[in-house]
């Protein structure tokens, strides 16, 4: 078993162990054990980064052993520049979520922490596997813990949301399963993703495969008009669940596009790029407008996520190096900012049990420390320079303006929209005079909450000020991917 296997299986094994400690009396132990496991897992991913050689474009730390010899599927894992940062981010956000859920999860703590850790391991595995069947297994398996997290610890309409989440995404991925069964057959019984990427395919085949993948990843990302599950789920999920969902789970979709959909069917991707770009622009502009009128803070952040994910697809479907790295940077930036936004809403919700913007006003007067940190994420959300959001959005915009000025102009309006809905929310919730007695009696955040928001806020600033290590590590792989996508695979 190699190092990468440890990175994958540590959180899963730890999470399963926690399931054995049910009962109130273990709550304290379980919380600390979960935090320890999450920190160990994060430490492992840092070591992973230190072992990673950014000059190479190939897969690194590869492990390849037969897994199901009968159908030629292998336990084949490895990281390249594209997956590396998602792995690190997954472990990072998991540790923060464990800490953020310290006191607001009081029921069946062991199952919650177990589910979060198992989920973390499954998502890391999804980013690392190079075997399509395993990819599907882990990609789908993430649904189980998330379904339980939403359904057990969620809000009033949790059951509706949990079902919507599970069935919607299951439906999408089953189309991908058909595509995989087909690719397996035409590739001469191979599940190797690299083999599939090199496989010549006809135009019609590629189109069908491409849309099968879009069904899976477009739901997950989500793309307009497949996004309708997201606002419902975010509103009902517990804070930690929302943070994981927005930060990492959505990125599984984006990652899937880069790893499977685009390299396997590049000609279809080029052919249908107009459609994807159009859908992305609708997501960016229309969903941005939708976010503007939301009354519920969580819904607003959820719609803002959909809008930001529109940038990811915009970046990918101009097929340039800057576009691809912009898409990845945008995903990473959103992976740091969106959990921050959700955790901020969670902090308020823990105190007031309301997410309605109208119930707040002038929070800055009673919670100055909290608002100072919350502003980092708000600014990040509309891409102010020196925050992570700037790096992501700016790279994408440069790429699309290069490709087509008009698309760039329409896409650019989202910067204005994002500023509008974010700042308007900030103004109505945080600023101004104290609106009512509930706000007057608010307590400022305690040490634990400060640590969580500080660490996350610093990471947002760090990525905004010094994104060089991130870009350096992914550069070689992105160049390779872009070159691959530029070549036709038609026979």
């Amino acid at each position: 078993m190699g190092f990468l296997s440890f990175v994958i299986w540590t959180p899963i094994v730890a999470g399963c162990l926690l399931l054995a400690f049910s009962g109130e009396r273990y709550n304290r132990l379980v919380r600390w054990a979960a935090l320890l496991a999450a920190l160990v897992s994060f430490g492992q991913t840092i070591l992973l980064y230190s072992r990673f050689n950014p000059i190479l474009s190939d897969m690194q730390l590869v492990e390849n052993v037969p897994w199901i010899p009968g159908i030629n599927s292998n336990y084949h894992i490895g990281v390249d520049g594209i997956s590396l940062w998602f792995v690190v981010m997954t472990a990072f956000i998991t540790a923060l979520v464990v800490l953020a859920s310290w006191t607001n999860i009081t029921e069946r703590v062991n199952q919650y922490m177990g589910a979060v850790l198992v989920l973390s391991g499954l998502m890391i595995a999804t980013f690392c596997v190079l075997d399509a069947l395993m990819f599907y297994v882990f990609f789908e398996a993430t649904l189980i813990p998330m379904y339980l997290i939403i359904g057990i610890w969620g809000g009033p309409r949790k059951i509706y949301s949990a079902f919507k989440f599970f069935l919607y995404t299951l439906m999408g991925s089953l189309f991908m399963l058909i595509a995989m069964a087909y690719l397996y057959t035409v590739s001469g019984n191979s599940f190797d993703i690299a083999t599939w990427q090199a496989l010549p395919l006809g135009a019609t085949e590629q189109t069908l495969l491409f849309f099968a993948f879009v069904a899976a990843f477009g739901v997950k990302l989500p793309m307009w008009p497949l996004h309708t599950w997201l606002p419902d789920v975010h509103v009902e999920a517990p804070t930690g669940g929302s943070a994981i969902l927005a930060s990492i789970m959505l990125k599984l979709g984006g990652y899937g596009f880069l790893r499977l959909a685009l390299p396997i069917a590049p000609d279809a991707a080029h052919r249908w790029a107009w459609l994807m770009l159009a859908l992305s622009l609708i997501a960016v502009v229309y969903i941005g407008l939708v976010a503007l009128v939301q009354q519920d803070m969580k819904k607003l952040v959820a719609y803002s996520s959909v809008s930001h994910m529109g940038y990811v697809t915009l970046g990918m479907f101009v097929f340039s190096e800057a576009g691809n790295s912009g898409a990845i940077l945008q995903m990473l930036a959103h992976g740091l900012i969106s959990p921050g936004m959700f955790l901020c809403v969670g902090v308020l919700y823990d105190r007031m049990h309301s997410r309605q913007i109208a119930d707040y006003g002038g929070v800055a007067n009673t919670m100055p420390r909290f608002v100072a940190l919350a502003m980092i994420f708000a600014f990040g959300n509309f891409g102010v320079p020196a925050t992570a959001g700037f790096v992501g959005e700016w790279t994408v915009i440069i790429a699309i303006v290069k490709a087509n000025l008009w698309i760039g102009l329409i896409g650019g309006t989202s910067l204005v929209l994002a500023a509008a809905y974010t700042l308007w929310m900030v103004q109505r919730v945080y600023l101004g005079p104290i609106a009512n007695d509930n706000v007057r009696s608010l307590r400022d955040i305690n040490l634990r909450e400060t640590v969580v928001l500080c660490v996350l806020g610093l990471s947002v600033l760090w990525m905004g000020v010094y994104p060089k290590p991130i870009m350096q590590a992914m550069d070689a792989s992105v160049v390779k991917l872009t070159q691959h996508m530029a070549q036709s695979k038609l026979q």
Partner: protein, 509 residues
Amino acid sequence: MFDATSWVVIAPEMFLLFMACAITLLDLWVSSTRRAPSYWATQITLLVLALWNASHALALSRPDFPKAFYGFGGMVLADAFGSWMKCFATLALAATLVYARPYSAQRQMLQRGGELFTLSLFALLGIYTMIAGNHFLVIYLGLELISLSSFALVALRREHLLANEAAMKYFILGSLASGFLLYGLSMLYGATGSMLLPEVLQSVMQHTAKRDILMLGLVFIVAGLAFKLGAAPFHMWLPDVYQGAPTSITLILAAAPKLAIFAVMLRLLVTGLLELAPQWQLMLMVLAVCSLLIGNLSAVMQSNAKRMLAWSTIGQNGFMLLAFVVSHANGNNLSLKDACAASMFYMLSYTIAALVSFGILMLLSREGYECENLSDLSGLNHHRPLYAGIMALSMLSLAGVPLTVGFYAKFKVLHALLTVPTTLHIALAVLAIVMSVVGAFAYLRIIKIMFFDAPEHGQPAALQAGYGVRATLTFNGALLLVFGILPASLLQLCEQAIINMLRHMSGLG
């Protein structure tokens, strides 16, 4: 004709027959209400048989060994496929009886005698006979032995009204199905002039058989088998019988006999009537589509757990049957092998999941309280997280979610279906997955009831089942996960068994 090989071939059957009779006699001297001596004698018999069959299967899969042994002039045969199916049927019955004993004892089903054990042994004998049969009459004999034993088993709770009604329905419709099958077999005999499967195959291949009679016979055979398997539109008996019968008996019906019916389906259709593949594939396709639609859509609306599982069985049968619908154009044996292996794997994975789900229902029932409504499971995670988790695994496996064995079952079938990707096959695959999502709703609902809902009855009474039951159930549930993560061994076993069977039976491969 009656040489030593013949007796070796049917040695497990002879042993089973002897033990069934011996236990029937032994039971006369047992007076305890829990029938411990009969029970343990039965379990030991089953264990011995499982090991015996497994060793046969392993020996028969060795390359330096003949692929199959025939006995009594070719009327019975022993091959790796048959031995594995017998072994799995035996294990399924053994697990069923572990779960069934406390449940049945609480319902006075063991008071008058140990028929539960002896009748299930005779049913198992029927299963063995059916699987070993290479001759129409032997197969039919086995089928009747299963049917008669199960009719009696369903009626085991004499004073229970619903069970009696179920037994009556089962008896009448089951007899009808047997009639269908017998009628079809007799037509095949008329058309080909032989009742031995290999001779039938020869006759069909050389086109000496009368085509129209052959086709008519085929229709009746497929209908009869669909009846016994429970595939729409021949499924009407299934929900009523599953719901009406005591849960222990439902599980006896749901697990082992289906393996035998499946084995006979493979033997009759795939190896015996391969020439007619285009015809029976069309019929099976209609059955599969109907079952998928009716089974999954109806499962969504049920409030009774046993009934819901019955409808889900129909949907699962539909999915399994899809694997048979691969084109067998110009001797494409590779896809045929894949298809049969896929359906065998599907049956096995379904059996494991069915054992778990009915086992949990029996575990949670106690004296004077039947756990059979979905609401009886509400809040199970609050007080019994382990069993809620096991039940959830079984539901996820039935829904085909990864990390459980059900996923590979579904994937194998889809793959088999797409080996020859025509528009029809892709459409079938799309229908199958759309219906799986519908079915997934029904399975997720059970998880929702167990995990998200609050307990309905407050603190439940302590479980009455002993540690043996709990350990078996936990092991059984763990199998879903173990084969879900490392399915290689089971997949390989299925493939090997199918390859062997295809080689020796139709001279293919």
